[in-house]
Structures are given as C-alpha cells and as structure tokens.
C-alpha cells in the first residue's frame, strides 16, 4: 500500500517517462535528498534550484512558455507568499495575451497543519490559491487520488496547483484504494522506490508498472453516503470528517461526506444534489475562516438552495489568527478537530427551522 508521498513519486515518474514532464525543480528536490518529504527521490528530471521561490516559479513559467512541462515544488506553502505576483501572472498568462500563450505548469506544495510545524510549516494555502483565476487547484486526500490528480495536472494545458496535505504524506492507501500495479506489500514497494539511508549515489529505483490513471478535475468523491447532513471538505479534513460521520451513526445521524478533490473546477453538481437531499450542509477545511473557500460555497448554497435548507449552512475552519502555534493545545485550538466536527454535524442534524 503506497503512502501519499510514494504515490506522488510514482505519478511524477509516469509523468517524466510517458507524459512529457521535462523538469521537476525546487529546493532539495534532486539528489541526494529527493525532497524533504521524499516526493522526488529517484526521478530522472528532478534537479536542485537555488533557495529562491521567485526563481523557481519564474523558471517554471519560462519553461512552460518554451514548450516544456515543468513541475515546480515550493518546499512548504508557507514560503509561497513571495511568489504571489508570479502566480497571478501564470494564472493570467492565457487571458492577458488573449490566448496567444498558455502556461502549462504544475506547482506542488505541502499544505496544512498536523505535523507540529509551528508558525511556518502549518499554513494552508487554499483560500489564497482559489483567489487566483486561471489556476486549477487540486488537493488529494488519498494516495490513489494524489496519483491520479497529479497525472491529470501534468497533462493539463493550464497552471495547476497541487496542494498536498502534509499530515497525510505518510498515510497509506486503504484496502480497495490501491494504485493499480503497486505491489501489495509495503516493504516491497519501499525497497523498490525509497532511497536507502546513507550513500545513495549508486542507488536507482525500480519502478512498479503503474498505469495512466487520470482522475478528472471537478469530480468530487462521496466518501460516506448519508441522509441527514452534507459535509463538504477536502485534504486532511476528509479523514477527520469521515471518522466524525462514523461516530455519529450510533446516534442515528448519517452524514454524507464529500471530498471535493479539486477546488477549481469545483463539483457543484454533487454538492447541490446532496444538499437537496439532506437540506443541511457543513463545510470543513483547515484554512483561516475569513474569505475562506467554504464561505464562497456557502454564498452559492444560499444563492441557489436557500428555500431547500432546513438549517443555516455552516463553515468550520481555522481560527482567523496569524499562525498556527506550536504547542499542541494551540494547534488544536486553531484548526478544526474531530470533536468539533462531530458537534457541528450533530447541531445541524438537530436544528429545527
């Protein structure tokens, strides 16, 4: 069972062998390290850049304009902020030139809290990312989705942001959600594609034969079917929401948990259909709550589904404070926790108009 980081690595391998990826660039992505999360170990086209986020994004844009297929990594999304104007330009390249150029690049970056990352390894980026028109934005919650979304990102003619929840990097696939072709034995896969400790100069990976499994953008996944409350989430919060839904079954509350998987484009049809069934909706994500993507979805919910709601739509998101603090008590007070999700679903289920 591959972990998410192994799944990303296998997708990048397929990308460079079969889908035209020319460059995987970023800080420490090349040998010897292969990425601080190991996402780029053993890849033929991975190379180390200067410690310069603007240079990384800018070079990827230039490569894309020159007909190449670059994948740029920003080591942590916390450090992407000084590239915002370049991201704006990349997203606007096709529009500003009236279709004369496009900008087919992937920007991948680990996001979110959950690894005791302190102030600058705990940020989320989806609120800012979704405010940049022209980008497609994906955020997997499982290794298989990470694999398939990355393949779709690689072949897309537009800039695509691949936001990887860092707390899920080492989480393995669940049975039934394997990537086709991956060996069933974890140890065997690790032996094939994880770089050994110590001197790696002679090491070469042995890649499993995995297929072109494209997971299309804009297709959400129903993680738990239910009738009482709709819970719309993505990234790290998917697992938390699913577990919250499981806990509530004993109380007779069935929550329908939707993993959006991609934010731009967003699968509104699946959200709408579910809310029309449950008449109650909770949006959950880790980002700070003010001008949060969930707020946008609430606006759309109110615009289109107002008379079908039996409870006010709710957003459970990160506290609007500057950072996620390091002490566990601070971190858990800053981002949604399972108990809070359970409570919010319960309140929505019991709300009477």
């Amino acid at each position: 069972m591959a972990t998410m980081v192994q799944a990303i690595r296998m997708a990048l391998h397929v990308g460079e062998e079969r889908l035209g990826v020319t460059d995987i660039l970023g800080e420490d992505v090349g040998p010897p390290l292969g990425g601080v999360f190991t996402a780029t170990q053993g890849l033929r086209t991975a190379w180390n850049t200067p410690l310069d986020e603007r240079g990384i994004i800018g070079a990827a844009m230039g490569l894309a304009l020159a007909g190449q297929r670059p994948i740029a990594e920003i080591q942590f999304c916390d450090y992407v902020y000084n590239t915002i104007d370049l991201l704006k330009l990349a997203g606007g390249m096709c529009w500003s030139s009236n279709g004369d150029f496009n900008c087919p690049m992937v920007m991948m970056t680990p996001v979110g809290s959950g690894i005791h990352g302190s102030l600058y390894h705990s940020h989320s980026f989806d609120a800012t990312a979704t405010h940049l028109p022209g980008w497609k934005i994906v955020m997997p919650a499982t290794p298989r989705d990470a694999y398939g979304l990355m393949l779709s990102a690689i072949v897309d003619p537009n800039p695509v942001m691949f936001l990887a929840p860092k707390a899920l990097m080492r989480v393995k696939s669940l049975p039934g959600e394997e990537i086709p072709g991956e060996p069933g034995d974890d140890k065997q896969l690790a032996k094939m594609i994880d770089a050994p400790l110590g001197d790696r100069s002679a090491w070469r990976p042995s890649w499993p034969d995995t297929p072109d499994l494209f997971i299309p953008f804009g297709e959400a996944k129903i993680v738990r079917a239910g009738e009482t409350v709709t819970v719309v989430t993505y990234g790290r919060m998917v697992m938390e929401c699913a577990k919250a839904a499981d806990e509530l079954r004993a109380e007779g509350i069935t929550a329908e948990v939707i993993d959006l998987r991609s934010l731009h484009p967003v699968d509104w049809a699946t959200i709408k259909k579910s809310v029309q069934k449950t008449n109650r909706v909770l949006y959950v994500n880790e980002e700070t709550e003010v001008t949060n993507f969930g707020e946008h979805l609430i606006r759309r919910t109110v615009d289109e589904l107002f008379y079908e709601l039996h409870a006010p739509p709710r957003l459970l998101a990160g506290a609007f404070v500057p950072y996620v603090g390091l002490a566990p008590s601070l971190e858990s007070a800053s981002v949604p926790q399972r108990a809070g999700i359970v409570q919010a679903i319960r309140e929505l289920a019991k709300h009477r108009p």
Binding site: L65, A66, G67, W95, S96, S97, C103, P157
Partner: protein, 343 residues
C-alpha cells in the same frame, strides 16, 4: 541627462556599418518615434486611457529587434521585454497600426484583444512572451526559456530587458544567480536600458553602484556598459554580446544608457524633455553629414510616415470595442499552444 560614466567598448566612428543598414535602422527609429508621438496624441485626444512607451530608446531597441533571430520555438530567440519596447517590435516586423489598436482598446488589438495597456505586447510567432506591468518579473521568467534552450543546444538565446530602477527588485538578483549556476550557465542576454529614472526618482538617489553592469562581475558574467543613444554603438555591442551568448551558451549583462524623451508615461504629462540626448536627431545629423540621407529625404519620410499613422489612426477609431462577453474567453486554455499544439 545622463552623467554616468559610459564605457565605449567600441569606438563608434572608426568603422561604419553598411549604409543600407544605417538607412534601415533610421527608418525604423523614425517610425518608432512617430508611432509613440501618435500614441501620445491619441491619449491627449481621449483615444486611450494611458500611454507608456519608449521614445528615446529607439537607438538601442531598433538594433536589438534587427539582430534577433526571430521566430517561434527553441531554435529562435525568446524575448522577455517591457513596456518601452516598441522599437524592438517594429524592427521585428510589427505593424504600427496594431499599437494604435492596443491604445484604442479595440477588439482587433492582436496583443491583448483590448485588455491591456499599450506597449504590452505578446507575439508567440516571434517568441515575444506577454509583457506585463509588474516591474522586473520578466527577469525571474527568463531563466526558464534559457534553460530549455541550453538543453536544446543550437544557437537560440533568451533576451531579457528592463530598466535601471527595476534592478532593485529581487528578480534581477534571481536572474544573475540562475544565469550563472556553475555548470549550468545559461544562454541569456540580460539588458538594462538605463534612463536614470524610476518615474520621478533618480537613479543616483537610490543606487550606490556606479554601473549596474558591475553587478554581473561577481557572478563571472561578462558585462558592458554602452551608449544606447547611438544606434551604431548599440548595433555593434549587441552583435558582440549576442554572438558570445549564442556560441558560448553563457550569460552576458549589457547596460545601455538611453534617454526618456517624454517622461515616464501619460501620468507625468508625456511632454518632450529638452535636456536629454535625442538619439534620433543626432543620428539624422550624422547621416546627413555623411551624405547617406539628405534633409529633404528625411523631411519626406517624416511627412509620409506621419500621414500613414494618421490614416491608421482614422481606421482604428472606427473599429469595434471587444464584446463584453469576451471577458470569459481564455481564462483557461483548451490546448497547449506553446509546444506548437503538439499536445
């Protein structure tokens, strides 16, 4: 007025360029100047919202455009320009009327469909990547096209150009660093057209470095500072720098002192500045003195081009604005056009 020390790497008078090249350069310089003046007239007449351009840079930008190996794809030169590059575009073969279209924000504007300010070109057929208003961002993007060209081999190079004030941005340092990574030096010609101003702020009040080109030396980058108001010097020095970048596949930093003859933009009035060197006037006097062109011929050319631009303006004035619904066009691409539509 430029008071910085200028190093004449080549003496501009000892070996003249061929007369037909000088005539061609002059024609394009004059056309560029008259185009900019027509654009300024348009802004005064309410036929546009903002003017910015490069009058005073013709003596450098025209030779640059003439020397570019123009075309699409890696074997040709990539151009990461800025909003004072009309001379380069005209020398590449751009039609003056298309700049009037961008000024008038009409649907037929081939560079942005009426979306962007004048001078914000995009021309994939010549590898001119979209010009944007943020200062110096092109210096962060240029290494990308140069990396692709280094890998491809051949003689195609990347050319990036910006002003003096913009070199204070981190993107300029990015470009120096990325162009000179040991073992991965890039075929990248970095150009700074130094007009000594950032809007109203003079270079000398913000920069301690006497020459911007000196910043390349710390990175082992070959450099030159030249008089960009002299088209013969510009042509020769650009030719040398480009040949070095093409064959050595290594970067070169070229600083060219130029004038800013109508100020920063329409927001500062766009009035003619008397105390700056007028490279076009100086070149015309030289051509007359050398008996390459006569005053009468120069006057005729000016009259003819002015009339042509007036006729172009009258045509553009009648052209339609973009459709409101076109705001939704090209938010996303449906295919990759940068690789020739291969995917």
């Amino acid at each position: 007025m430029n008071t910085s020390p200028i190093h004449h790497a080549t003496n501009g008078v000892d070996a003249h360029l061929a007369p037909d090249l000088l005539v061609r350069m002059h024609e394009l310089m004059l056309q560029t100047r008259l185009l900019e003046e027509r654009l300024i007239t348009m802004i005064r007449q309410g036929d546009g919202y903002f003017w910015i351009g490069g009058p005073g840079e013709e003596a450098f930008n025209v030779p640059l455009g003439l020397l570019v190996n123009k075309g699409e794809g890696l074997s040709h030169d990539y151009l990461h320009l800025h909003y004072r590059s009309s001379g380069t575009l005209l020398a590449l073969g751009a039609e003056p009327i298309d700049s009037l279209r961008q000024m008038k924000s009409v649907k037929t504007d081939p560079y942005s469909g009426g979306r962007n300010f004048v001078g914000h070109y995009s021309a994939r057929k010549w590898n001119v990547v979209p010009i944007s208003s943020p200062i110096e961002v092109q210096f962060s993007m240029a290494p990308g096209t140069a990396i692709a060209q280094k890998r491809a081999g051949g003689r195609g190079i990347t050319i990036v150009q910006g002003g003096d004030a913009g070199t204070a941005e981190g993107d300029f340092a990015t470009c120096l660093i990325w162009a000179s990574r040991p073992g991965n030096e890039l075929p990248l010609l970095m150009i700074v057209t130094n007009n000594s101003y950032g809007i109203s702020t003079t270079y000398g009040t913000q920069h301690g470095e006497p020459r911007i080109s000196d910043r390349g030396k710390a990175f082992g980058i070959k450099t030159a500072t030249i008089d960009g108001n002299d088209p013969e010097v510009s042509y020769r020095e650009l030719q040398k720098a480009m040949e070095y970048v093409r064959t050595e596949r290594r970067p070169f930093l070229l600083e060219a002192h130029v004038s800013r003859l109508y100020g920063h933009s329409s927001s500062s009035g766009a009035n003619f500045v008397e105390d700056e060197v007028d490279g076009l006037a100086r070149f015309e006097a030289r051509l007359v003195e050398r008996r390459i062109l006569s005053r009468a011929t120069l006057d005729d050319m000016r009259t003819r081009m002015t009339a042509e631009l007036l006729a172009a303006y009258q045509k553009v004035r009648e052209e339609a604005p973009p459709d409101p619904s076109s705001i939704w066009d090209h938010v996303f691409a449906t295919k990759n056009v940068n690789d020739g539509g291969a995917r």
